[in-house]
């Protein structure tokens, strides 16, 4: 458990996390690839370094700590706990070879808090205070609003599930929404007899989807007004105070986002009580949609203004969907974040 390779800035951040009640967490650099691949799919292969072991099979050089922390917490059987960690993570840089593919990540994760708005605000305030000397700008968002909006669409469960599946792929999400907003063109499709049935997907699977496509063709388009509401929601980018009032107006016609709006309101209150002024905190409804899947509520990032060439110095958010994917429906809620101290040093400041 040596920490000698880290600079004093890293130590200071870790002390801040320790003072917030976080236990020390450590895990190996080589991680089993199957869990990560199952959760994140092929996309992670483009980012992580994959290697082979004759006995253990496919392994990955730790791309981050989130999944091992969640697994360790679930295995511990504890309800609520907090963890801090620091160590090297490894990411392939295929397009931008000037960025390091190995760097230090310092993290803080909170599990099992029952008051999620308070926990979100506490984590954000912790990061904000720790990063204050670096003079960064914060960005926030909330994937829960978009989830609520999709849940409220007047359409089939099948279409809602298709949209939910692509929350984190904005382009495909938009294409699906546009497709569902129009009448479905009829496709005259029949099972074909002259081509042999090869592969695992059977002729029965094909007929099942043909039946679904026939059903789909009868589904009325999503009303234009509802598509408009989602478009308006996704375009929101203003101070948190203004965003909240704007989204409240939208909630008049979108009952299913009201729970998320209530949480947003409670979070802003909790942030204000910790000295974070909602009038000065930016909010973007689309923020965090292109990062890792499974962030499903509050999301935040800290970045250097005027340095769009650099990745965010810190990122975090709520990932209840990830703990549920690994631990089932009764898994504890989770919120946390990571900091890249190397970027702070590169920006010429020490926190």
């Amino acid at each position: 458990m040596t920490q000698t390779r880290w600079d004093s800035a890293t130590d200071d951040l870790l002390v801040a996390f320790q003072n917030a009640g976080a236990d020390w967490f450590e895990t190996g650099i080589l991680q089993p690839a199957d869990v990560l691949l199952d959760l994140y799919g092929e996309d992670i292969r483009a980012r992580a370094f994959v290697t082979q072991d004759l006995v253990q099979g496919e392994l990955m050089l730790r791309p981050d700590y989130t999944v091992p922390v969640v697994q360790a917490h679930l295995a511990s059987g504890q309800g609520a706990a907090r963890y801090r960690y620091a160590g090297q993570v490894f990411r392939q840089q295929t397009d931008d070879s000037d960025r390091p593919s190995e760097y230090t990540q310092i993290g803080f994760e909170d599990f099992g808090a029952t008051d999620t708005a308070a926990a979100d605000a506490e984590v954000f305030a912790l990061f904000s205070a720790a990063l204050k000397p670096a003079g960064l700008t914060a960005a926030t968002g909330d994937i829960g609003l978009l989830r609520g909006a999709v849940a409220g669409l007047q359409t089939t469960d099948l279409r809602k599930a298709a949209l939910m599946r692509h929350l984190w792929r904005p382009r495909r999400f938009r294409a699906l929404l546009d497709r569902f907003a129009k009448p479905v063109p009829k496709r005259a499709l029949e099972l074909c007899d002259d081509a042999p049935e090869i592969g695992l997907r059977s002729r029965a699977d094909v007929s099942a989807r043909l039946a679904r496509l026939a059903e789909e063709a009868e589904t009325p388009p999503i009303p234009a007004g509802q598509v408009e509401l989602i478009t308006t929601l996704l375009a929101i980018k203003e101070t948190s105070t203004n965003a909240l009032s704007h989204i409240r107006d939208l909630a008049v016609d979108m009952a299913t986002i009201r729970d998320a709006v209530t949480r947003f309101d409670a979070r802003l209150g909790a942030l204000a009580s910790r000295g974070i002024e909602p009038d000065a905190l930016g909010f973007e409804a689309s923020y965090g949609r292109t990062s890792m899947e499974y962030y499903d509520g509050f999301v935040f990032g800290f970045y250097a203004e005027g340095r769009p060439d650099l990745p965010p110095v810190a990122t975090g958010g709520r990932y209840d969907a990830l703990t549920r994917a690994l631990g089932g429906d009764s898994a504890p809620a989770a919120v946390g974040g990571v900091i890249r101290p190397g970027l702070i040093a590169e920006l010429g400041g020490a926190p």
Partner: protein, 229 residues
């Protein structure tokens, strides 16, 4: 000072490359009995290095050869930010091949990438398994699927006879090079209408990483002049 040019070391691609240069007045012929991996060019300062077509991108990227002939597909798959490492000098007009995504022909419900994504979702839901796509062009295929927003798939490595993987139950779909589509048809597969990842052909590349002194630049100018690039 010699200008090193990497050329494919065997097969039709080698024959066509040699013919192409010879037709343009840069006579090239294999040495000895044709089994020896050595060839000679009738132009001053040009040295032929025979390599596997798949290794030519790596050699260009490392700057060990100044020029190389290979497919645009392998260059884009094997070299990160390929434009920063090599420059396309001339498309040679042969070795045409498209990298396409293909599925079994009896999948009448699947014609587009949208359909493939929907089938991948159903596959994971009903079989608890990601839709497997067999290919040897991992990076190109992954980038394409990512840009298209396809989820719930998995790439499985296939270094040859990729069209057979579906019948052999090791994949549900494939991504491979096709020129006429005959091999696909013979294996009861069909390309997706919007699943063309890349159109490739044999191309003469220049390495940006090799050492370019006056002599090499002069030899390149002479060669370019001769072949009309």
């Amino acid at each position: 000072m010699t200008l090193k040019i990497g050329l494919p070391s065997k097969g039709r691609l080698m024959d066509k490359t040699f013919t192409w240069f010879t037709d343009r007045g840069v006579e090239m012929r294999p040495s000895g009995d044709g089994r020896e991996y050595k060839a000679h060019a009738e132009i001053d300062g040009l040295e032929i290095v025979l390599l596997s077509a798949g290794e030519i991108p790596r050699e260009l990227g490392a700057g060990r050869i100044h020029l190389g002939v290979t497919g645009t597909d392998v260059v884009r798959d094997r070299l990160a930010a390929w434009e920063t490492q090599v420059l396309e000098i001339k498309a040679l007009g042969f070795g045409h091949a498209d990298l396409v995504i293909a599925v079994p022909r009896f999948w009448v419900d699947v014609d587009t990438m949208h359909d493939l994504d929907a089938v991948a979702a159903a596959c994971r839901q009903t079989h608890g398994q990601r839709l497997r796509i067999a290919t040897k062009y991992h990076r190109l295929v992954r980038e394409f699927l990512q840009a298209e927003g396809v989820a719930d798939y998995r790439l499985v490595d296939s270094q040859g006879a990729t069209e057979g993987t579906v019948r052999n139950l090791t994949a549900e779909a494939i991504a491979d090079i096709t020129s006429t589509g005959e091999t696909l048809r013979a294996n009861h597969l069909k390309p997706l209408s919007d699943g063309v990842i890349l159109k490739s052909q044999a191309t003469l590349f220049k390495s940006r990483r090799a050492q370019w002194t006056g002599a090499e630049r002069q030899a390149l100018a002479a060669l370019v002049d001769q072949i009309g690039a």
